[in-house]
C-alpha cells in the first residue's frame, strides 16, 4: 500500500468500489435481473420468475453447455501443448527469430474474431482441407484465437525461471527429456494452469469466429445466447448467460485450487 493515511485509504477503496461496481457488477446485475424478470418495462422488473431457467434447461441449454465445454477443453488442451512447445522451442532459438515468431503468434488476437472465422471458412472450404460444416473447424477457430495467450503465459513463466535449476539438473546427469519432465514442466505448472484457465475462459466466451463457422448441432453457449437475443428472447438469453457465467466460474475456481495445491507443494 502506497497510501498510509486513513482517509486516503478510504478514498482509494471508495474509488475502487465505484469503478468495480459500475464496470463489472452493474452489467452482471442487469443480466441476472433480466434472467429472473417476468416483465421489465419500468426502472425495475415488475415480477420475478424462474420460468426462463426452466425454459432454457428444457431447451437446448445442456447441448450448448456440452458443446462449449468440449470445445473449450479440447481447444485449450491443444493450445496448451502447442503453446508450451512453441515457448520451449523458441527459447533456444536466437533472440530475433524468437521475437518475430512471438509477434506472429499474437496476430490472430489483434484481428477481429469474425475475420478469423471468415478466413478459416474460406481457407478450409476446398479438399483436401475441407473442414467446413465439421466440429473440427470450431476447434481450429478457438485454437487460433487462444493459442497466443497460452504461448504468452508459458513464455512469461519460462523467462522468470532461473536457468540455475535446469543447469544443475543437467550437471547432475539429467538428459534433456528427463530434465524437461522432472524439472522444467513441474516448475512451470502454475503458469501452465493459468494459461489453461485463461484459454478456457476465452473459449467459453468466444462468439465472433464461432458464429461464422459453427455447424448445425454444435451450437456453443455464446452462439445460443446470441440467437436467443437476436430473436428478441432477451430474458431467456439472460438466463443462458447466467448458466455460462456459472459454468465458467466453477471451472476457474476448480483450476485455481489445482494451481494453489501445485504451488504449495
Amino acid at each position: 500500500m502506497l497510501v498510509w493515511s486513513r482517509p486516503g485509504r478510504i478514498l482509494i477503496w471508495a474509488v475502487f468500489a465505484l469503478l468495480f461496481g459500475v464496470l463489472f457488477l452493474a452489467p452482471l446485475a442487469v443480466i441476472l435481473l433480466s434472467s429472473l424478470a417476468d416483465q421489465w418495462n419500468g426502472v425495475l422488473p415488475s415480477g420475478l420468475t424462474t420460468e426462463h431457467y426452466s425454459d432454457v434447461v428444457q431447451g437446448a441449454a445442456w447441448k450448448a453447455v456440452k458443446a462449449s465445454l468440449v470445445t473449450g477443453f479440447l481447444a485449450s488442451a491443444l493450445a496448451l501443448v502447442s503453446g508450451t512447445w512453441a515457448a520451449l522451442a523458441l527459447r533456444i532459438q536466437d533472440a530475433t527469430l524468437a521475437r518475430v515468431l512471438g509477434v506472429l503468434f499474437f496476430i490472430p488476437s489483434a484481428v477481429p474474431s469474425v475475420s478469423v472465422g471468415l478466413g478459416l471458412l474460406v481457407a478450409f472450404s476446398h479438399p483436401p482441407l475441407l473442414l467446413n460444416g465439421t466440429i473440427a473447424i470450431v476447434m481450429v477457430a478457438h485454437f487460433v484465437l487462444i493459442s497466443a495467450f497460452t504461448f504468452g503465459n508459458v513464455s512469461a513463466g519460462l523467462a522468470r525461471l532461473s536457468p540455475d535449476f535446469e543447469q544443475v539438473a543437467s550437471s547432475l546427469g539429467a538428459r534433456p527429456a528427463y530434465r524437461l519432465w522432472h524439472v522444467t514442466l513441474p516448475l512451470l505448472t502454475p503458469y501452465l494452469v493459468a494459461a489453461f484457465g485463461l484459454s478456457f475462459a476465452l473459449s467459453m466466451g468466444e462468439l465472433g469466429a464461432t458464429v461464422m463457422v459453427y455447424p448445425p448441432g454444435w451450437v456453443t453457449l455464446p452462439v445460443s445466447i446470441f440467437s436467443l437475443t437476436d430473436r428478441g428472447d432477451v430474458f431467456a438469453g439472460a438466463a443462458l448467460t447466467m448458466v455460462l457465467v456459472a459454468v465458467t466460474l466453477i471451472l476457474l475456481l476448480g483450476l485455481e485450487r489445482v494451481a494453489g495445491r501445485q504451488t504449495r507443494s
Binding site: S162, F165, Q167, V168, G173, A174, L187
Partner: protein
C-alpha cells in the same frame, strides 16, 4: 541455528575411498570465451590437481563464473580444450561430464523433498533403487542433514539449503565439485561456520577435486590449496595459497589478497645474504625486504601487510618508516590506523596500542621485520 556439524569420517569411510579413486584433475588448455565480440576469458591455461581445492577469486566481472561454467559445459569455449582426468570434455554435453555443481542460490528443486533433491542425479542416471537409498542416506549424513530428508526446501534455512545442495552434488560421486559463490547468500556468522565445515568435508573426502569460485578472500585463504586470482578475464596470478599471500607476484595480487600496503621504493642493493634480502630506499629510509631479482636503481614496490607493522621497534623489527597519523578506528580486538607515508596511505592493524597515542596530524614511526616484507613489481597493465 541448530544445524549439526558435518559428521566425521566414520559415516563416509567407504564412500571416501570410492571418491578418492574418482578424483580427477582439471586442465584448462588455452581456453577462451567470448560473447559476440566481447572477450570475457582470454586464453586461460590452468591445472587443478586431483584432490586439490583451487579457489578462483577476483573482482566482479573478472570471468570466474565464466571459467567455472566452461568446465560444467554451459559456456562454449571459443578456442582451447578442457580436460577432466584423461577425458577431453570440451565437446561433451553437461550431463555427460560427471561433475557436481553448487550455485549461489542453491537452486534446490522446490517441488521435491530434500531426499528427492539428493536422489535426483542418480535417478536421472537410472541407478537402481537400493543404491539410491544408500547414497541419499550417506550424502545427507555427510552434511549433517539426515533429520531433514522429508522436508521441502522452503522449510529449511539458507545454511541448511546449502548443505542439501552440497549433498545433492556429492550423491552422484562427481569427479570434480564446482562451487560458485556457495556461501555468498549466507550471513557472516553462518558463512564462517560453513567455511570450516567445507574444509572438514574435504578432509573426509580428500580425493575430491574442488573448483571454488568466490570473491571473498577469507574463504579462499581458509580453504584453498591453491589460488588463482582473476582480473579482466585473465589469471593475474596463480600459486599455493600461503606463497601467494607471503610473496605476491604483482601489485594486484598484493592488494586483492589481504589489502597489503605498497610503498614505491628505489632499489639500493640487490639480493644479498642467506635470506636473499635486498635494500631499497624510501625517502631517507633504507629498508630491507625479500627480493625478486631486482637490480640497484630499479623502481619497485615494497609490500607490507597491515598486521606486520608495529608501533614499537626491537631487534626483529628493524625497518623503520615515519608517517603522519591520519585516522584511528577502534574495532574491539583490533585498532586500525591510517598514516600518510610520503604521500602513500599506509594501513596498520594493531592488537596493542601504546599507552598514549600521538595526536592526529603528528609524526609517528612504524617498524617492521625484513622477513615480513617483499618487493613486488608494479603491474604492467594499468
Amino acid at each position: 541455528m541448530s544445524v549439526p556439524a558435518f559428521t566425521g569420517s566414520n559415516v563416509m569411510d567407504v564412500d571416501a575411498a570410492k571418491i578418492r579413486g574418482a578424483g580427477s584433475n582439471v586442465h584448462f588448455d588455452k581456453v577462451s570465451v567470448a560473447y559476440g565480440a566481447h572477450v570475457v576469458l582470454h586464453p586461460l591455461t590452468l591445472d587443478i590437481a586431483p584432490g586439490e581445492i583451487l579457489a578462483m577469486i577476483g573482482p566482479s566481472g573478472s570471468g570466474k563464473t565464466t571459467a567455472l561454467r566452461a568446465v560444467a559445459g554451459f559456456v562454449r569455449p571459443a578456442s582451447g580444450r578442457i580436460r577432466i582426468g584423461a577425458t577431453d570434455v570440451t565437446d561433451l554435453p553437461p550431463y555427460e561430464r560427471g561433475l557436481g555443481m553448487v550455485v549461489q542460490n542453491y537452486a534446490l528443486f522446490p517441488h521435491m523433498r530434500v531426499e528427492d533433491n539428493v536422489a535426483f542425479g542418480l535417478r536421472a542416471q537410472g541407478a537402481d533403487k537400493a543404491l539410491i537409498g544408500e547414497r541419499v542416506k550417506d550424502s545427507l549424513a555427510t552434511v549433517g542433514m539426515s533429520g531433514f530428508a522429508k522436508r521441502y526446501p522452503r522449510e529449511l534455512s539458507g545454511g541448511q539449503q546449502q548443505r542439501v545442495a552440497i549433498a545433492r552434488a556429492l550423491a552422484v560421486r562427481p569427479r570434480v565439485l564446482l562451487l560458485d559463490e556457495p556461501l555468498s547468500a549466507l550471513d557472516a556468522q553462518i558463512r564462517r561456520n560453513m567455511v570450516e565445515e567445507i574444509a572438514k568435508l574435504h578432509r573426509d573426502l580428500p580425493g575430491l577435486t574442488i573448483l571454488y569460485v568466490t570473491h571473498d578472500q577469507t574463504e579462499a585463504l581458509t580453504l584453498a590449496d591453491k589460488i588463482a586470482i582473476m582480473r579482466d578475464g585473465r589469471v593475474s596470478s596463480h600459486g599455493p595459497t600461503a606463497e601467494l599471500y607471503r610473496r605476491p607476484p604483482n601489485r594486484f595480487t598484493a592488494e586483492f589478497l589481504g589489502r597489503a600496503n605498497l610503498l614505491p621504493v628505489t632499489v639500493a642493493e640487490g639480493a644479498a645474504g642467506p635470506k636473499g634480502l635486498a635494500k631499497a630506499r624510501l625517502g631517507d629510509a633504507v629498508l630491507a625486504g625479500a627480493a625478486r631479482g631486482e637490480k640497484p636503481g630499479d623502481k619497485t614496490l615494497l609490500c607490507i601487510r597491515p598486521q606486520h607493522l608495529s608501533l614499537t621497534g626491537d631487534e626483529e623489527h628493524t625497518n623503520r618508516i615515519v608517517g603522519t597519523l591520519k585516522e584511528v578506528h577502534w574495532q574491539g580486538e583490533l585498532t586500525h590506523l591510517v598514516l600518510d607515508v610520503d604521500g602513500t596511505p599506509v594501513r596498520v592493524s594493531a592488537t596493542r596500542l601504546p599507552v598514549s597515542l600521538p595526536e592526529r596530524g603528528s609524526a609517528m614511526p612504524l617498524f617492521f621485520a625484513p622477513g615480513d616484507t617483499s618487493l613486488v613489481p608494479e603491474d604492467v597493465r594499468g
